[in-house]
């Protein structure tokens, strides 16, 4: 019965989808055409990518590089023609068209840093203008940014451009992932990564390369930034309610480029890009004191032979054998874009191939996208997008990994050097595990991915709009991990016989979404009501099958089936979600807007006893600068919008989390092996989603004719019913901890975006953008759960995963006694409490643009585990071995009391503590300033371009990661050795971010 009801619903949606394809069509002879140009009011330059539309219809056009547009099929009669573009104040032309008329509309747009007419797509029920959106939805105009900044990835786009969005590049290894947090970390046990949406459908996010240890590949790298028109960042629950019970960490919504309906033109753009990738660091030397045996004349150690036992010798295997190299990236792209009467298309093909800075590191990506948009009538538009991708990431072992270049090079000892040709460690950590052996390890992930979307907008009558979206993200990964068979003994144990692991992962994310909107004009048009409603079904599935083989005959036959011992494993996970939503917005004179909304969600991961999840929201936006009072008294502030919103959204538990489960596990009784079971998780039938609630207050202001813009937002996000994997006492015997809804985390802060265009004239213009945000992240309630975690501790009153350890109370340089606290105490924050960025564009001599950006993160610490390990565990650092390098005080602080027979550290209660308990010296200030990007773009003069057969072109030269200022003692404070971790700012043998120098040429035909 239930299945029949659902089928009925699905049939109704399908019927509606078919119905929209059969709208009434008026005869072409009755229609008029609107064409014209759009230019910059101050410079007179044509403006490309301006969206020009006929209000109340689906008809629209986009200007080309000459600023021209054309819209056909317009119904005669009074019309409002609207021109919209980010960075310019909107302009409207109202006129009356006659049948068959070709009307010429010329727009001159004024640059404006405050844009309230911009249409927001994400997080809204129906497209609405920014002025009516109560909660912040930040937008990055990627197509514009791409013109001036060297962009390689989506995370690159978001890096330091949106206040409240924190991007941490995990490492300098090519093809690896970044950590993205929006307004802090709200979840303790679940991912804090935002939801990723492409053209209205939810797509897979996350990291891969399960078979390898170290950095991961990132599905976000699958998306070519060249295909992106804009990215909207829905920051928190106040705006994300419409994304349902999985959006509390925010939403990154990618809108791809579309065709140019009615343009009647076809343009092509070809781009070439070359990057030189510099490792940007030199690994430190390893040190050791020679032993008596090694100093003998017959010694095989070339460093110690002939020395004394007091001699400190050094070695640097990575430098000696040239582990690092200058990498490069070559990118070639083609874009075709255009349209005819009632249709538009965008097509692209891109090929990038990158050799990283390590021998077996590379990232190749081939993408193709076709977007087709069709306007069969002024009541209907159909948009179809199809993106295919193949990427290959070769990611070497690194980080906390004995097969890594840094693990091997920085933990080796000079005492194992040999020059007699006999196989040995020879200064590396592992036996015979030098560059050649490490580089021979293959970790490769090949991804095939298809993202298909289809959206129909149907406006059967002026007051009713309908948007149907259906789409899927289908992916398949082929992962390989291969240790070649070798006679040197380079790898541990049986891996030397040849080890191969093949993993095949398949998955899909399917979205079916409907949104309707009824617009009513009340009180003679002064009061406008928009009632929106909809439903969404999400179905996600991920499965993998893995085969492993050990013992190969020859390395060329590195297949699992060729191995002498084989094994297999499998996983299959499915999650489904359904949501029903409604929203009512009242707008008064297009100035004051009040919005009420709600969503009702259920998820297959909820427990049997959990109810559907209710997600309300309320908000208001008031363009107060358009009131008479303001204009008469405060007119110098020409734009002022006040806004406030409160909303709720959630985070679903992982599939199966509500069940009491056992894990399959084999057993042996006698000599028989059989399939058995071990306790896995006690489950929780009351499990429901985390509930994020957010209050957001702020204003958007424009001064000096909107040449200066200021956005200010205060947010207060509280995550309740935290999904906490409540730590169980191990004595209960369960392998994993059950999720419980308990506790509370608060994220509060302010976000400020300042934008100014101090100078704008045809020969010289200058704009500057400054963004900043603060963050107060705090666990405010843990319910009945005791504080847990050791180095990263979860405890009330502190950040999620704040740094903890035994704290140094006193250091006595006379007695060598270092007293520490009895119990774990707070060291520092793990999340930055302040982030800021500044970027600027300078256009000069008409054809040149200089772009630069700089950013900072402050108020947090990073665990320098690399130095900790090299100084206190495997002693390889001259900090430890050379007593003149550090002061006595600092040596006591780091290593404790060196007196034999006395404990390294002494608790106040008199008991001893070890360096592992007292890591205070290695939890180091992670604050930094970084010169992130500098680029210079020269637009080719038309006559130069024409010699190449092109209409136009541009050359960009630039650099990324050009300067770093920080007190952090490691290589770089922006590394994360375990990007997957819910909270981790650990630097452990991680390759720091590289530096790039970039040359890019774009030609338009």
């Amino acid at each position: 019965m239930k299945r029949a009801a659902l089928n009925g619903l699905l049939r109704a949606l399908a019927f509606a989808a078919v119905a929209v394809a059969l709208p009434g069509q008026a005869s072409a002879q009755e229609r008029a055409t609107v064409a014209g140009t759009v230019t910059d009011a101050s410079t007179g330059a044509p403006i490309a990518e301006v969206r020009v539309n006929i209000a109340g219809t689906t008809l629209q056009g986009v200007t080309d590089m000459r600023g021209a547009f054309r819209i056909t099929g317009v119904l005669p009669g009074p019309v409002k023609i609207q021109a919209r573009r980010i960075g310019f104040r909107a302009a409207d032309i109202e006129t009356t068209l006659t049948p068959g008329q070709e009307y010429t509309a010329s727009f001159k747009l004024n640059a404006s840093v405050v844009v309230l007419e911009e249409v927001i797509i994400s997080g809204t029920a129906g497209d609405i203008k920014r002025r009516a959106q109560a909660a912040t939805v930040a937008e990055v105009a990627v197509s514009d940014l791409n013109q001036v900044a060297p962009i390689q990835s989506v995370s690159n786009v978001l890096q330091s451009r949106v206040p409240g969005v924190s991007v941490v590049q995990g490492s300098g290894t090519s093809g690896t992932s970044s950590q993205i947090r929006i307004r802090g970390a709200a979840s303790i046990s679940l991912s804090n990564e935002p939801l990723l949406v492409v053209d209205g459908i939810v797509v897979a996010r996350g990291t891969n390369l399960a078979t390898q240890s170290g950095q991961r590949s990132d599905r976000m790298n699958d998306i070519d930034p060249g295909d992106i028109e804009s990215i909207e960042v829905v920051k928190g629950p106040a705006a994300a309610t419409l994304y349902g019970a999985d959006a509390s960490a925010g939403v990154i919504s990618i809108i791809t480029k579309k065709g140019k309906v009615n343009s009647g033109r076809f343009t092509q753009q070809v781009s070439f890009e070359y990057n030189s990738i510099d490792p940007n660091f030199t690994p430190p030397d390893n040190f050791a004191f020679c032993t008596a045996a090694l100093i003998a004349p017959t010694s095989t150690n070339p460093l110690c032979r002939g020395k004394t036992t007091a001699d400190l010798v050094s070695d640097n295997p990575n430098v000696r054998e040239g582990s690092f190299r200058t990498g490069n990236m070559i990118g070639v792209g083609w874009v075709g874009r255009g349209g005819g009467q009632s249709y538009g298309y965008y097509a692209s093909i891109n090929y990038d191939t990158e050799d990283g800075t390590l021998p077996n590191n590379g990232f190749d990506r081939q993408t193709a996208r076709v977007n087709f948009n069709w306007v069969p009538s002024d009541k209907l538009t159909l948009d179809v997008g199809f993106n295919v991708l193949r990427s290959i990431a070769d990611i070497p072992d690194n980080d906390n990994n004995v097969y890594g270049y840094l693990g091997g090079g920085l933990l080796g000892t000079p005492l194992t050097r040999r020059d007699d040709g006999v196989e040995s460690n020879n200064g590396w950590f592992g036996f015979a595990r030098d560059v050649k052996a490490i580089a021979a390890i293959e970790n490769q992930i090949t991804t095939h991915r298809t993202i298909a979307t289809a959206t129909a907008n149907w406006n059967p009558v002026r007051w009713l709009t309908n948007r149907f979206t259906v789409g899927g993200d289908l992916f398949r990964d082929e992962e390989t991990r291969f240790f070649p068979k070798n006679s040197r003994g380079s790898y541990q144990g049986t891996a030397n016989t040849g080890s191969i692991t093949e993993l095949r992962r398949g998955g899909e994310r399917l979205t079916l979404d409907y949104l309707g909107n009824i617009r009513n004009e009340l009180m003679e048009g002064k009061l406008v009501s928009n009632f929106s409603f909809g439903a969404q079904l999400l179905d996600s599935r991920t499965e993998w099958v893995q085969g492993s083989g050990l013992g190969l005959t020859v390395n060329s036959t590195n297949m699992v089936s060729a191995a002498s011992s084989t094994s297999g494993a499998q996983s299959w996970v499915r999650q489904r979600q359904v949501g029903i939503l409604g929203q009512w917005q009242l707008g008064w004179q297009d100035q004051l807007f009040v919005t009420l909304g709600a969503r009702y969600d259920a998820n297959s991961s909820f427990g049997e006893n959990a109810d559907w999840f209710f997600l309300p929201k309320v908000g208001a936006s008031w363009v107060v600068s358009e009131t008479g009072f303001w204009q008469n008294n405060l007119g110098f502030i020409n734009t002022m919008r006040l806004r406030g919103a409160w909303g709720s959204t959630g985070r679903s538990p992982t599939p199966g989390a509500s069940l009491t489960t056992l894990s399959s596990a084999a057993y042996i009784v006698g000599t028989t092996t059989a399939s058995g079971a071990v306790p896995n998780n006690p489950g929780n039938q009351d499990l429901k989603a985390e509930r994020g609630q957010e209050l957001e207050l702020g204003f958007d202001a424009g001064l000096l004719n909107d040449r200066i813009g200021l956005e200010f937002t205060y947010f207060d996000k509280t995550t309740k019913d935290l999904l906490l994997a409540r730590p169980l006492p191990p004595s209960l015997g369960f392998s994993s901890n059950p999720f419980v809804n308990i506790g509370e985390v608060v994220n509060q802060g302010i976000e400020v975006a300042f934008t100014a265009v101090p100078v704008q004239n045809p020969n010289f213009s200058w704009d500057i953008r400054i963004g900043a945000n603060t963050l107060n992240n705090e666990v405010t309630d843990l319910g009945a759960v005791s504080p847990f975690g050791t180095r990263n501790r979860i405890t009330e009153g502190r950040q999620v995963g704040a740094w903890y350890g035994l704290k140094i109370r006193s250091i006595d340089t006379l007695t060598n006694i270092v007293r520490v606290s009895d119990t774990l105490e707070f060291y520092d924050h793990i999340l930055p409490t302040f982030e800021g960025n500044i970027s600027t564009n300078v256009s000069f001599l008409k054809n040149f643009r200089l772009y630069a950006s700089m950013d900072t993160k402050q108020g947090h610490s990073v665990e320098n585990l690399t130095d900790f390990f090299r100084e206190t565990q495997l002693v390889r650092s001259d900090n430890r071995l050379d007593p003149t390098k550090l002061s006595k005080y600092e040596r006591l602080r780091r290593y404790g009391n060196p007196t034999p027979g006395q404990p390294a550290f002494l608790r106040e209660n008199g008991t001893s503590a070890t360096v592992n308990d007292v890591e205070e010296a290695y939890i180091q200030d992670g604050s930094f300033y970084r010169l992130r990007e500098v680029s210079l773009t020269a637009t080719l003069p038309t006559n130069w371009a024409s010699k190449l057969g092109a209409q136009g072109g541009a050359i960009t030269i630039g650099g990324q990661n050009l300067g770093l200022w920080s007190d952090y003692e490691g290589f770089d404070p922006e590394v994360v050795s375990a990007v997957d971790a819910a909270f981790n700012r650990q630097d452990f043998l991680t390759v720091p971010p590289s530096r790039r120098f970039i040359v890019r040429v774009n030609l338009t035909f």
């Binding site: 084989t566 009491t660 596990a665 084999a666 042996i668 058995g676 071990v678 191990p730 404990p903």
Partner: protein, 425 residues
């Protein structure tokens, strides 16, 4: 407004239909785990009992390895600081390996045995071999907990003293013996004999020598009970011999210099070139070659859990100097050693007895219990090879050797067990 009302009603209706249908749509399978409701307590009891035995076998391997480092049977030939804490007899309660590799596997072994015992409604409980299997391995879990941990707890219960744990072991072994006697099958008899050895061991550790001797005497000659392992690439961490795994895959265990003796009971060899210590500096720091044990030379090498040999040692120790001396001479003779001619009483005799016992049961997880038993009797020095408190650890850079005699409960247990009052932080 009429339109909106109509629409609102339609939406409510659609929502109601959808929510009804969605319950089924939202029900998805989870084949990666076993829903506990899918198990039948009766028909699946052998599965759970066999799993409980394997959980103990897993824990047994871990505990032998970590305790061997702690008592100096072997060297920590790897770099993990948490494992080196065992080699230094200075295991802090925050030590992650202590929780993950030692306490949790032992706890899971006990908990899964209790799962079997609490199934209820099993047929013929007085001679049900599944219940017996649960009793035996719960008994051994209690013994290892009592011998290695200063205090213990099971199933998030109250803190147990050493004597509490030994008494619990005795109680479960007694049930196992009763069931095995009633059952009478070969398997049940073997389990019952293992329980007899276990009960003797528990009594001896508790200082009840006469009861220990009585139980030891009831073990039939030639009895041997091994836990078997398998060379299964897909299940090496569960089915493989841990002592070999940590040599073959990780290079973690070296025979410590004091145990590098020529005795068939401690087979060993200089590691070949494909089996090297993870700590590249082992030979330089220790000053001796990297020698690995050869008692368990493969992934499928069995580990002895109980035997008449152990019963003999228990009986000899319970019997006093004369029986100890007799067994010493017998075992020396059997293993190519000249007769013992040292002191025949006191610490000298006990040292030789414990040394013979150490050779006999090398890497079988008994040495820490031996030390604690001897130390409790004021003869801790008789257990030679223990890292000496305050001495310099053989790896440079580490703090000196500590003085721990047993392991504390780890932080995750202390923090989360409501019956332990100490609290975390």
């Amino acid at each position: 407004m009429k339109i909106m009302r109509t629409l609102a009603r339609t939406l409510v209706a659609v929502g109601a239909i959808a929510s009804a249908g969605c319950d089924e749509w939202l029900t998805v399978p989870n084949p990666t785990v076993i829903d506990i409701n899918a198990l039948d307590p009766v028909t699946d009891a052998p599965v759970l009992a066999g799993s409980a035995q394997q959980n103990f076998a897993v824990a047994y391997g871990w505990l032998i390895m970590y305790s061997s480092w702690f008592v100096g049977e072997s060297d920590v030939a790897e770099t993990f600081p948490t494992r080196n804490e065992f080699g230094r007899r200075d295991v802090v309660i925050q030590n992650g390996s202590h929780n993950t590799d030692v306490w949790f596997p032992l706890s899971q072994a006990a908990a899964s045995a209790y799962l079997v015992l609490n199934l209820g409604d099993l047929p013929e409980p007085a001679k049900n071999i599944n219940l017996q299997r649960g009793e035996v391995f719960l008994g051994y879990s209690y013994i290892l907990m009592a011998e290695m941990f200063c205090t213990g707890t099971v199933l998030s219960g109250p803190e147990l003293t050493t004597l509490n744990m030994l008494d619990s072991a005795v109680a479960h072994f007694t049930k196992a013996i009763d069931i095995g006697t009633a059952n009478g099958t070969t398997d049940a008899v073997a389990l019952a004999n293992a329980a007899r050895v276990g009960r003797a061991r528990a009594h001896l550790q508790a200082g009840r020598k006469s009861q220990a001797a009585a139980d030891a005497a009831s073990v039939p000659a030639g009895f041997n009970f091994n836990l078997n392992y398998a060379d299964d690439l897909a299940n090496r961490t569960r089915l493989g011999n841990r002592l070999w795994q940590f040599i073959a895959d990780r290079g973690s265990i070296a025979v410590s210099p004091i145990w590098r003796v020529t005795d068939p009971r401690v087979p060993q060899r200089v590691a070949p070139s494909n089996l090297l210590p993870q700590d590249a500096n082992y030979t330089v720091d220790r000053g001796v070659p990297y020698v690995i044990q050869n008692k368990y030379p493969t992934f499928n090498a069995p580990i002895r859990l109980a035997s008449k040999m152990e019963a003999d040692y228990i009986a000899a120790e319970a019997g006093g100097d004369a029986t100890m001396l007799a067994l010493i001479q017998a075992r020396r003779a059997a293993n190519g050693q000249p007769p013992y001619n040292g002191g025949t009483t006191g610490t000298a005799l006990m040292t030789e007895f414990m040394t013979q016992r150490g050779l006999e049961f090398y890497l079988e997880g008994k040495r820490l219990g031996d030390f604690r038993r001897a130390d409790g009797a004021g003869q801790g020095a008789a257990v030679i090879g223990m890292p000496v408190p305050g001495s310099t650890y053989w790896k440079p850079g580490f703090a000196p050797v500590g003085a721990q005699k047993c392991w504390l409960l780890p932080t995750p247990e202390i923090d989360n067990n409501p019956n332990l009052s100490r609290g975390g932080n």
